[in-house]
């Protein structure tokens, strides 16, 4: 497919496909503010995050406040609120859609940027999670536990699989085509360019330092270096 062709398709198909997103905003007006969702929410267990309050804000016209807030980026997407909601409100879908709204309003890049490498891998290789491993703890433990070098190729070989899972070239070309004409490639480029001076989301919630365990209180973790 030529560049010009792709460009034309993007112009024609993208506006049509944008309609897709609107199917996922759930009927928040049905919410009766019972708070069951908050009781089961893992984010609410460690911060003052509150889905019931967010729904209340949206319903009473304070959508902007939610869109600008860091709160929007604290949901785990676990769907436990949906499972417990007597009104079947699928709140994580609402959050997902509001995050796009937030991004379009210029917020949230600080969170999304960290995911871009995964999207780049998806675009280049067809897989979001690839084999190479940087974490030295993981490599050392894997070496000890498998009796191999710890390298994933060696481990796969050890259990009788090809050294690497490959996605076919045709599939890659198709995925890249879809990404290009649907606007995903562009969006990624734009997000990569967002500089760090972009507006930050406003803090509306606080971290709760204690989590109840059955043995009593758990007082958080010592500050630690990153090695995720």
């Amino acid at each position: 497919m030529s560049k010009v062709q792709t460009k034309r398709l993007r112009r024609e198909l993208y506006p049509k496909l944008r309609e897709l997103t609107f199917g996922f905003v759930s009927d928040l007006e049905k919410c009766m503010q019972c708070g069951k969702c908050v009781g089961i929410c893992p984010a609410a267990a460690v911060t003052t995050y509150n889905s019931r309050r967010m729904i209340h804000d949206i319903k009473s016209g304070n959508l902007q406040e939610v869109i600008e807030s860091e709160e929007l980026w604290s949901c785990f997407f676990c769907s436990a609120c949906y499972a417990s909601c007597p009104q079947d409100i699928n709140f994580p879908f609402t959050v997902a859609m509001l995050r796009y709204a937030s991004l379009y309003a210029g917020y949230g890049a600080e969170y999304v940027k960290k995911i871009i490498p995964y999207a780049q891998d998806y675009y280049a290789r067809g897989l979001t999670v690839l084999q190479p491993e940087k974490n030295p703890l993981v490599l050392a433990r894997r070496k000890a536990n498998s009796g191999t070098s710890g390298d994933m190729g060696d481990i796969r070989e050890q259990i009788g699989m090809p050294r690497e899972r490959k996605v076919s070239d045709e599939a890659l070309a198709e995925v890249q085509f879809i990404s290009d004409v649907s606007g995903m490639t562009k969006l990624m480029e734009r997000m990569l360019k967002t500089d760090d001076a972009a507006p930050k989301t406003r803090q509306r919630i606080e971290k709760v330092e204690t989590v109840k365990t059955r043995e009593g209180k758990f007082a958080g973790f010592p500050e630690e270096q990153e090695n995720a």
Partner: protein, 339 residues
């Protein structure tokens, strides 16, 4: 208790399309190999395709990729089993959720389905929605009798907890195979394998990852969850925990190693995928099951299994080959609990 009306809807086929997970392929390949081995033993064929890419759920629900890009990508992936005329089995809660939600959405919105197919046609594909998307724990319970026949190494005396994860049961509270809050399908499978299912207070607590917390917020939100979960597991004195999702496996397996490494806790609970556990009970070599890829070693668990087997066979021999002993609890249980 599995819901009979959902059980009735699940097709038992001679062959399924195996939807591979990129986390499993790249980090825990034993999930994939054990799935193939277990299905082979129970006489069900699995077909794969290198045309299948990642489901793209991760990048969609982290807002990097727009739905406009990943909706057609889902339809593209599902057009492969559609064309082959096979139903799809997913190994991952995330893949299941993403394929099913978007599949339902397309089926219920013919106008959008038309547009998506317009795009697919350009790459020579079509999505019809004929292939039913199933979760591993939809299919395994239906094949329970066949599994039971293959158990040659019952995991007697091993105390095993379950972690169902969020996205399958919570996200599909009406259509999933079991109740979102009090599921037992996996426990039933554990019993088939001869193990002792163990309940613990934090059983339905999220692994702490959510989809994004480990990446977006690093550990400040996710580690406290994991800690609560593992404290509760420790108290329940389990030998292992069984999961039905590669992402839960990654988070639980690596999270506890991380906590141990930093001296915050001393957990050592091996995390196994359901087919790895069933494979073990079917007598498949633990190396072949890929347990070596685990960060938290499964060795203690395997040692205990061997010890229990040995003590049973010597006891049998002492009693002149009597086949059964009613009480399996030995000092091994205490030993493992203290370790």
């Amino acid at each position: 208790m599995p819901r009979p009306e959902v059980m009735a809807r699940i097709p038992v086929d001679d062959e399924y399309f195996l939807f591979r997970s990129c986390v499993a392929s790249s980090k825990y390949p034993g999930m994939e190999s054990s799935t193939k081995d277990v299905f082979e033993k129970i006489g069900v064929a699995l077909r794969e395709s290198d045309d299948q890419t990642c489901c793209a759920g991760f990048i969609t629900f982290t807002s990097v990729a727009e739905v406009t890009a990943t909706m057609p990508a889902v339809a593209r992936n599902l057009s492969i089993p559609d064309e082959a005329g096979l139903n799809t089995v997913t190994m991952c809660n995330g893949c299941y959720t993403f394929l099913t939600e978007f599949g339902h959405f397309l089926q219920n919105n013919p106008a959008i389905l038309g547009k998506v197919n317009e795009m697919l046609k350009m790459v020579g594909r079509e999505y019809t929605g004929e292939s039913q998307v199933l979760h591993m724990i939809d299919v395994l319970p239906k094949l329970q009798d066949r599994i039971a026949k293959q158990i040659v190494r019952p995991l007697k005396g091993l105390r095993i907890a379950t972690h169902y994860g969020c996205h399958y049961l919570y996200g599909f509270k009406k259509d999933a195979i079991d109740d979102p809050f009090t599921p037992t399908v996996v426990e039933d499978l554990l019993e088939v394998a001869g193990a002792t299912p163990v309940d613990y207070p934090e059983a339905r607590t999220c692994c702490g990852s959510g989809l994004t917390q480990v990446v977006i917020h690093k550990e400040e939100l996710s580690l406290p969850h994991m800690k609560a979960k593992f404290d509760s597991l420790k108290e329940a004195e389990v030998d292992a925990i069984v999961v039905v999702c590669p992402y839960c496996l990654t988070i639980l397996d690596r999270g506890q190693a991380k906590m141990v490494d930093r001296g915050i806790a001393d957990y050592e609970v091996p995390v196994l995928y359901i087919t790895q556990l069933l494979g073990l009970a079917m007598g498949i070599d633990p190396v072949k099951l890929g347990l070596g890829a685990n960060i938290t070693s499964a060795q203690k668990f395997l040692d205990k299994l061997e010890r229990l087997e040995k003590s049973r066979s010597t006891a049998d021999a002492a009693r002149g080959g009597a086949p059964k002993r009613p009480e399996e609890k030995t000092t091994d249980d205490q030993e493992a609990a203290n370790a």
